[in-house]
């Protein structure tokens, strides 16, 4: 990417609607000539797991329980009115009906646009998640210092 304008998005939330908001800003920014970095930490890491449903990832009993309960991209809850996980499915069908890009489409667009994906080393350590557990489009596992260095001249958005 050649744009001099830079946007960095911290994806802290693992809520379905907030991840969609993050990817909407990210793809819109990349498509309008901005250099975009997304930094996934804590609950946000769920959106990057290769296993998109509930799975026992982790190295000890607590991390395995946490990862199972949180699940992956297909288990992201709506931040409000989740109704046991039914709402994200309803929301996706409403989005399709209204020709709005769904989360998988936004993620595919982000990959095509060359958006840089970073995963938070510290959160991965806590949750016992390794880079192999995350999708291949994750460029690197980094700490906050690397993220801040990369975002030196960028607008930083926290989601």
């Amino acid at each position: 990417m050649s744009g001099h304008k830079k946007i960095s998005i911290v994806c802290f939330s693992g809520d379905f609607d907030k991840i969609i908001a993050a990817y909407t800003i990210a793809t819109g920014a990349a498509a309008t000539n901005r250099e975009v970095t997304m930094f996934f930490t804590f609950w946000g890491l769920n959106a990057l797991k290769k296993r998109q449903g509930h799975s026992w990832l982790g190295k000890d009993i607590l991390s395995r329980i946490f990862n199972f309960l949180m699940g992956g991209r297909k288990s992201l809850p709506l931040s409000r009115l989740n109704f046991g996980g039914i709402s994200p499915m309803l929301m996706t069908s409403m989005m399709k009906k209204n020709h709005v890009a769904t989360l998988p489409e936004l993620i595919e667009a982000a990959d095509a646009l060359g958006i840089r994906l970073y995963a938070c080393e510290m959160a991965m350590q806590i949750l016992g998640v390794t880079k192999d557990d995350l999708v291949d489009s994750v460029q690197e596992v980094v700490g906050v210092a690397t993220f801040l260095n990369e975002s030196e001249d960028a607008h930083i958005i926290f989601v």
Partner: protein
């Protein structure tokens, strides 16, 4: 060679995304004809193309709130 892209059924951000990706696939000197809606797409897609160094050759009103934008890579 003129490429064609209708983004009248797309909403933000895919309007911009589809244009960006289509232009990226094209060779220098080729043209892209984009059909888009008035409002946000009309105000920002041509501007965004210019910002990326492409030439907006023409913008024509097709009626029904649709516009035809010709962009040269």
């Amino acid at each position: 060679m003129i490429h064609f892209l209708d983004i009248t059924r797309e909403t933000c951000p895919m309007t911009f995304v589809k244009v960006k990706l289509q232009l990226a696939r094209m060779d220098a000197g080729q043209e892209l004809e984009i059909i888009l809606n008035e409002g946000e797409p009309l105000e920002n897609v041509p501007h965004s193309c210019e910002e990326q160094g492409y030439q907006v050759v023409s913008v024509d009103d097709c009626g029904d709130g649709k516009h035809r934008v010709l962009v040269k890579k």
